[in-house]
């Protein structure tokens, strides 16, 4: 069997008396899109926070690319190749899209303590960043302040930044949220190709996208994974149908 890129085992997180993550075990294998679905309040966000390092788990382990990263900070995990996008796009609004991506490129090159060379004359930064922007289709809007980009364009920008990091896995938190039907369609198509670059853990409410993309689906309810399987298995699973899918299946 191929070694999973990301391996989460028996993860537990309590907030007071509330067990937000209740023994979650989950893995992400090379080349796959693993969708994580579940009703609001199921603990998806809490789980993501623990994976990317903004929250510390109470017990259990998170292995990424062969290392135990459970005690690492956000920046360390990102440097190891955990690329993520946010439910609400996270960008530097005053900078242009280009300079946002250049920030990721310089981080990847490992050299933010350079004080004298102007970045806007640094071809190695600009060319790499432009290549990433081209891949997500933002070339024409590269020089516009990120604050002026549309919702969908900010999503694309975030993905370009994750690409620039040379991520070994992508953690995408509701990338379809707030996208129009056209945007969802082209993003679905893009993610379909992205999985060959690095596997994707996809947290998503848009079931059409999930069913179209996912190799496997895990269903999270009350902090617990109640089922993991292929699209067909999940559609047929009676517990999942009562807990979540309802008339969608």
């Amino acid at each position: 069997m191929v070694e999973p890129v990301l391996q989460i085992s028996n993860l537990v997180k309590n907030f007071g008396a509330l067990r937000a993550t209740d023994g979650v075990t989950l893995d992400l294998r090379p080349g796959e899109i693993h969708a994580l679905i579940g009703p609001n309040g199921a603990g998806k966000s809490t789980l993501i926070h623990q994976i990317c390092g903004t929250l510390r788990q109470d017990s259990g382990s998170i292995r990424f690319d062969g290392q135990d990263i459970g005690s690492f900070g956000v920046a360390e995990r990102a440097r190891l190749g955990l690329g993520r996008t946010f439910q609400v796009s996270s960008i530097a609004p005053d900078f242009s899209g280009l300079r946002n991506v250049m920030l990721a490129v310089q981080a990847k090159q490992g050299s933010s303590f350079r004080f004298f060379k102007p970045v806007m004359r640094d071809r190695s930064l600009i060319d790499t960043a432009m290549a990433m922007l081209e891949r997500v289709g933002l070339t024409a809007r590269a020089r516009i302040p990120a604050a002026e980009l549309s919702h969908g364009e900010r999503r694309q920008l975030e993905i370009a930044m994750a690409l620039a990091l040379g991520s070994k896995a992508f953690l995408l938190d509701e990338p379809m949220a707030g996208m129009g039907p056209e945007g969802s369609k082209s993003l679905t198509h893009f993610l379909d190709t992205l999985r060959h670059e690095a596997p994707i853990l996809l947290v998503e409410h848009d079931m059409d996208a999930v069913f179209a993309l996912a190799d496997r689906i895990s269903v999270l309810v009350y902090g617990r994974i109640i089922a993991t399987g292929t699209v067909e298995e999940i559609r047929r699973d009676p517990t999942v149908r009562t807990a979540y899918l309802g008339d969608h299946a």
């Binding site: 360390e76 242009s96 990847k108 350079r114 004080f115 004298f116 102007p118 970045v119 930044m161 990091l165």
Partner: protein
């Protein structure tokens, strides 16, 4: 190449005006105005230091008087030891050479900045403002209660410190020294702002989570920026002590910290020439209004209110429009 944008043109005019005034004053035999221009240059340099932390990094330090005062005391103490001949520390003697004093002021301010920043930067927002203020007040009270160097009365520098090849007691010469140092400080600011480090620093101001998510630790970036910021303000403090030939705890007081913040807001936060525009405005107000009424700071308050309400970009924001970030 530097393109002649509207902002660059305004910057150039400001720089030329600051240079022209002392020469005119010198020709007209009005040395007082040279002192005024020197004061503007030094305050602008101090605020340029703060602008690195506050303008680029969004770190509202209410304690930069500590570095300004430390620079001042370095000048005063080294000069006092050079005058008396007593060794300073570990057999080192004092110095009357400005460049020795500057290096000492820069190093000491940076080290203290590193120490204060290391603790303060673990907080943010109002707590950061308060903790930087608290540290500066500690330095202030330390200076007051240290009788060896004048305590509350401060320390006089009998003869202005020296610079090789020139007579620093000539007001115009001393102004030119300060002017060149200011330009170097502004150059450093411009370089840092455009660099990789500056990119990370400004991004951390805009969105801390974003910076961490690409794998850069905002804390390290900010701490480095804070130390550089402290060093530049400390250098200005050394010049200020030489301008007045006197250093006292007032350089360390929280009024001074507030004044530096006011200069930046007046001129334009994060703008290259914001501190110079702000310092010029401040000193001119102080002089013009101060001649009319002792309550000139009341009117300064009104102006500051107007800037904050109607001209968020300060004077440069009014004249040159919104800042561009690339």
């Amino acid at each position: 190449m530097m393109t002649l944008t509207r902002e660059n043109l305004i910057n150039l005019i400001l720089a030329v005006m600051l240079l022209a005034v002392p020469f005119a004053a010198n020709a007209l035999g009005q040395p007082f105005y040279i002192t005024l221009a020197t004061r503007i240059a030094i305050l602008a340099l101090a605020a340029t230091g703060l602008n690195l932390a506050l303008g680029l990094g969004g770190l509202v330090s209410f304690g930069h008087a500590a570095f300004f005062g430390i620079g001042g005391y370095v000048a005063g103490i080294l000069a006092a030891h050079a005058f008396s001949g007593d060794p300073l520390l570990f057999g080192l003697s004092g110095s009357k050479q400005m460049w020795v004093i500057w290096i000492a002021a820069v190093i000491l301010s940076a080290l203290v900045g590193l120490a204060i920043g290391a603790i303060s930067l673990r907080t943010s927002g109002v707590y950061f403002i308060m903790i930087t203020l608290a540290f500066a007040q500690m330095v202030y009270y330390f200076a007051i209660s240290w009788p060896a160097y004048g305590g509350e009365d401060g320390l006089s520098i009998l003869v202005r410190n020296q610079f090789p090849g020139v007579n620093t007691m000539r007001p115009l010469t001393f102004f030119l020294i300060c002017y060149v140092v200011l330009l170097l400080g502004l150059g450093l600011f411009a370089l840092i702002r455009a660099s990789r480090f500056g990119t990370a620093l400004q991004a951390a101001r805009q969105n801390e989570v974003r910076v961490a998510t690409v794998g850069i630790q905002p804390y390290r970036i900010r701490l480095t920026a804070f130390a550089i910021s402290a060093a530049v303000t400390g250098l200005a403090g050394a010049l200020f002590a030489d301008l007045n030939r006197f250093v006292s705890p007032s350089m360390l007081s929280w009024h001074m910290s507030g004044e530096l913040i006011v200069l930046i807001i007046l001129g334009g936060t994060g703008r290259l020439f914001g501190p110079l525009a702000g310092a010029a405005l401040y000193v001119i107000f102080e002089f013009a209004l101060g001649g009319l009424t002792e309550r000139w700071q009341f009117f300064l308050g009104l102006i500051l209110l107007a800037v904050v309400l109607f001209a968020r970009g300060g004077l440069l924001g009014l004249l040159a429009g919104k800042a561009k970030h690339g």
